[in-house]
Amino acid sequence: MDILRFATAGSVDDGKSTLIGRLLYDSKSTFTDQLAAVERASRDRGDEYTNLALLTDGLRAEREQGITIDVAYGYFATPKRKFIIADTPGHAQYTRNMVTGASTADLAIILVDATKGLVEQSRRHAFLVSLLGVPHLMVCVNKMDLVGYDEAVFERIRHEFTAFTTKLSTRDVTFVPISALRGDNVVNRSYDMGWYGGSPLLHHLENVHIASDRNLVDARFPVQYVIRPQSHAYRDYRGYAGQVAGGVLRPGDEVMHLPSGLTTRIAAIDGPDGPVDEAAPPMSVVLRLTDELDVSRGDMICRAHNAPMATQDLDAMVVWMADRPLQTRSTLILKHTTKSARAMVRDLQYRLDVNTLHRDESADQLRCNEIGRLRLRVTQSIFCDPYSRNRLTGAFILIDEATNLTVGAGVIN
């Protein structure tokens, strides 16, 4: 059994909460006390039916306003897989929330309301899925019950959406006509849409192939923590702990250390329960090397003939997430893999309109929830790959030194 992490996106009222509630309910992942609470709350609100959306609407402020305000994580399992849902709300802070949820997602679900068709936000969502490198996209055309389960409506939306997604980098896009409210094609096949030859949503979630989504080619091991027991028994022990970010490492492999550029061999790899024969993402392991090198947190272990870029100059797409706009020449803390360093915004090449993909080269700042292409100068060399090649060594966050808030997320070009 493996884990599928997926993010859900949609505009307010597209039926996202209802869909998640339906998934949990029909896959028998809800508990009787949760359902009782939801039934009670539905009655209190005067809803005519048990509002499954209330299963996921978490915080008090949201319950009062009836909207989702922050990324909420949900869990369920079927005999095939464990699922982690990042429910990312679709209103004001939608970009920030969606980028957060999508950053770790294997798959994204975008909802489209069949009665409204494609809206501006649908394009935004698809663009963000592509920017964040989410490998699989499922477009759920919801509320099919309100359009008489009409195939033509579904096909029209599918064609329009496909015209847009072909411009993006997401390769695997699947469309499913559903009614979250009535449960059509969510877990169970719809009786009213015989024309739909595909499988219900859950079936896709259970079977989508994700094993090959991780980079198993380029060996990347950002050193996170040095283990050096101060004890007699382990006097000579020096282990470099970290989470494998790419490739497959094996004892005996020749490896290169950055920044020194020196090569050595892997003497042994210790997993959580002792020595292992190989390590691949996302394992957390400890490497021991045959030579004594000066290795510390923030360094990188890779292969001599396949090293990441080592650069102080980054060209990246950045999502800005702070109220105070991003301006050129501002200085921020950049955290990339296990390394933190100061970085200065050298220039804003353009601001991207996420609805039209238009590039505004006259822009001189990024406001909250805007996306731009930046050039950054970092005080130290960063060992990185293009994000399209590796989602871990190609990503960074930006932290405001004055407030300590996380204010930006970047993907390296």
Binding site: I3, A72, Y73, A77
Partner: protein, 296 residues
Amino acid sequence: MSIEVLEAEAIHIMREVAAEFQRPVLLFSGGKDSIVLLRLAQKAFRPAPIPFPLMHVDTGHNFPEVLQYRDKRVAELGLRLIVASVQDSIDTGRVAEETGPRASRNRLQTTTLLDAIDKNGFDAAFGGARRDEEKARAKERIFSFRDEFGQWDPKIQRPELWNLFNARIRNGEHIRVFPLSNWTELDVWRYIDRDEIEVPSIYFAHRRRVFARDGMLLAENPYQPTGAGAEVYEATVRYRTVGDMTCTGAVLSGARTVTDIVKEVASTRITERGATRADDRVSDAAMEDRKREGYF
């Protein structure tokens, strides 16, 4: 497979904390989640010892079996345990004991915890909370920022992307870290089963004198009157969660081994907190309100 991925994620989080903070602490209650945390901490740093102390907020109303387990475990591993006592907070006038039949020391723990964090200068505290436990928890970050009053503000949480955690704080602030965020109750038991970890005896079916209140079975205990008319009787029960004797409910169960428990949890239709925590029955938002004040 999935348990290994969760384990790798938790170990990554623990090492990140050890690397980025000056004075972390691991909150250890002797309950199953903190037992798993402790095991993960051993694995994250070995063959070196765990590079931080443990702390238990002792309400004075804990199950004796759990305290015994706690002390035995700490001694076996040669770790340092700090016990922060709610009774001390009451005796020194920091908090006042609640009264009435539904009185509990649950809420008082917050002050004791925050005082101990401040006194010891801890800048990060590991907790065993999981997002599947409760709706407010479902939105909390893995690195959860607490201001100088220890408060959690759901509206200004730091976005958390990829496996990059923002560990920056000012003096007096701290971060609560939840390495088990993505684990469910079932994952925790499967892990205990796989690693054959010892747990306190009250997790297994045993005979106990209990009484019913608010739809829950509470243990007869020295700290709480059973209330007029409440019938005390003996039943075969076990605990799904261990908290205070005064507000933690037992469930009827015949599960005698960890494998039995895994089976039981896999088929149960009631959530862990729903079955067992009187403190969350007060209102639908009880946990959220406590968390804002600085609760675990």
